[in-house]
Amino acid sequence: MDALTHLMGGFAVALRPLNLGLAFGGVFVGTFVGMLPGIGPINAIAILIPVIFATGLPPEGALILLAGIYYGSQYGNSISTILLNVPGTASAVVTALDGHAMTRQGRAGPALAMSAIASFVGGTASVFGLVLLAPVLAKWAIRFGPAEYFALMVFAFSALSSLAGGSLVRGLAATAMGLFLATVGLDPNSAIPRFTFGQIKLLDGMDFVVVTIGLFAVSEVLQLLEDTEAGREVQAKVGRVMVSARELTSTGWTMARGSVLGFFVGVLPGAGGTIASFLAYTTEQRVVDREGTFGSGDIRGVAAPESANNAAATGAMIPLLTLGVPGSGTTAVLLGALLGLGVTPGPLLIQEEPDLFWGLAASMYVGNVFLLLLNLPLVGLFVRALTAPRWLLIPGVAALSFVAVYAVNQSPFDLVLMTGFGVVGYAMRKLRFPLAPVILGLVLGPLMEKNLRRSMALSGGEWGILFDSPVALTLWGMAAASLVIPPLLARRTPLPPEADLSEVD
């Protein structure tokens, strides 16, 4: 109950007019910046930090603003993902599967509204998690060592089959391609370059944004060009803008599960939103997808990753604030901002700066309300953008993606690479290879490899370390269960029709 008293104090801070305005401003700016393909929360925050320093805001005000930008841009990212199939961050890739499928069916409105609502639910539920569990979870997160991370990655990969669409073999091949891309660059454990072919620009590895925008967005443009000729062009249907009551009730448990799962995964440093959204999506598919509609425009396929993703964003604040350990790229940037504001996050933060901690928690709740209020009315507007003539809309969005990628990396080489990935992505769609596993391999591959090698370095080559702790064993058990149980269930229920993720029109 102590926590709740503090939280009330926090609300007193958050509801000050200045802070209310900052939360709103942050969410607003974040939404629009996040919509730009390839400019995720990290860049949004990093670009705005000097501006914020220059304004001389008090620390809690600045932090409220930054947090607003953080989850605002995460939601903004879902907008371009759902409408245009341009996921700008790894965590939005699974949202694209069902979200963009819904857009193609003329259900962009409900998809966007669902995304806003699920983000709200995930964000709100996790704020309570933050308030009630922060100190306990901080201790738990510390006990999560390389071996446990490795087991978590194995669990995440075991969910692969549900992303593979029709053919497991093609799913495996796509994952292997992602893993291959993940190995490109300087190997941090041995300081040797792998698959860089002397190209200095490849030493840092494949930029996730380049691969994703290439595979998804560029190949989408090529596909649309093909369809234009074939006379199969589907004029964007606007349709209904809001979710129906039935859709809302059917996703209630999905959002609840997504929020809880996302929150706990988000707390783990280094895991974050991507794993959270992938796990939420694949878990949900096993739990509720009886008809096999996931991947072809199932609204629950939007609700699950969106709630998880936002819950993870809040969860990631726990290690940052209570340990001073950033759990993701975005929170690392936030850490820099905090230090610059004269706040040292760490175990003492809650005691030393109660106004800041509880004010932030309360303002995250307020910010989530703003996010919902701001975005539900705008859904109709965003959807209408799709009715712009195709010769203007598609080149415009394509150029936007290209400029965004260039503005962040300053590398024309990346643009050529992106075009190449677009061609590969088009071929993969045609040959019915699912695209999402490539991203799974690319994003989780390095985490899996690094943590395996760290474990081995720690144990001196003793494999037993991987099964040493209860947490690791539990995760191994879950991985095994997720491989074994679905086939058993499938034997009892009639086989679902093949969900086809590579289908485009």
Partner: protein
Amino acid sequence: MRRSTLIATVLVASCAPPASRGWECIAPANAGGGWDLTCRTAGQVLYELGEAPGLVRTTNMPGAGGGVAYAHTVAQRNGDTEVLVAASPSTTLRLAQGQYGRLTEDDVRWVGAVGAEYGVLAVAADAPWRTLDDVIAAWRDDPGSLVVSGGSAVAGQDHMKVLLLAHRAGIDPRKIRYVPFDGGGEAMTALLGGFVHVFSGEASEVEGQLAAGRMRVLTVLAPERLGGRLAGVPTAHESGLDVDWVTWRGFYVPGEIGDESYGRWVEVMRRLGASPEWEKARVTNRLEEFFLVGDEFTEFVRAQVEDFREMSREIGLIP
């Protein structure tokens, strides 16, 4: 189609902008890192001081630990008098290890360093090692008995700190066990979780944990003791090991800008370093005073690259 694009080209070309574009600072990494902060902070102060003709633009050019920006500066900006590039020991270390291809430290001109952090070695508060000497003694018994974590890759800054210490203490650096993590934060978590024994990082990284009494800093790799919370921590020199790790923050400029322009940059840095505005920004960003410009800085960089090269060769990282 051909005609329309032609028209468009003419339209666009006719409104080509004037030549002066203001000052630009290239941060050779993504937004949010140390180089980015160097550029944005110094750029802001240079503008406030009226040194710069307008707002200083920060361009992020990530890639190859600064290698992309280095190659870009040499190949495409060699005579550009309005561009600064942020640098740190990460730059000199990679130059020394040949990670920038054929480019050397003499391909650009080194303007100055305007602040620094110092390296530290820390252990968990309840660890049995109370001083740097304890750790060295443990290494002497069995170099493989301690595992060190750090936020940089193998052969990166955090790794080099321990290698240098071991080397100076007469222990075979190749036997030291180092596990790289993604950034100091994760490396520190591994220490707090009890997965590793020693953490190698920067002074600013350990402040929060130190205040909470969860970590003990064994040594600072600075010429003299630091102030603030770390005032009680001895330097490595006090243990008889002459190892400093100065994570300086500074700048280089393109190599072919001529002595006059170079001299102007040096004067600009001198005035920046002397200004109270920079002093304030430096303290905000947790940087210690460290100021070297012009020839002095160039000599410093050359010596550092040479040191790193020798060290890397000795432990077999480069031929």
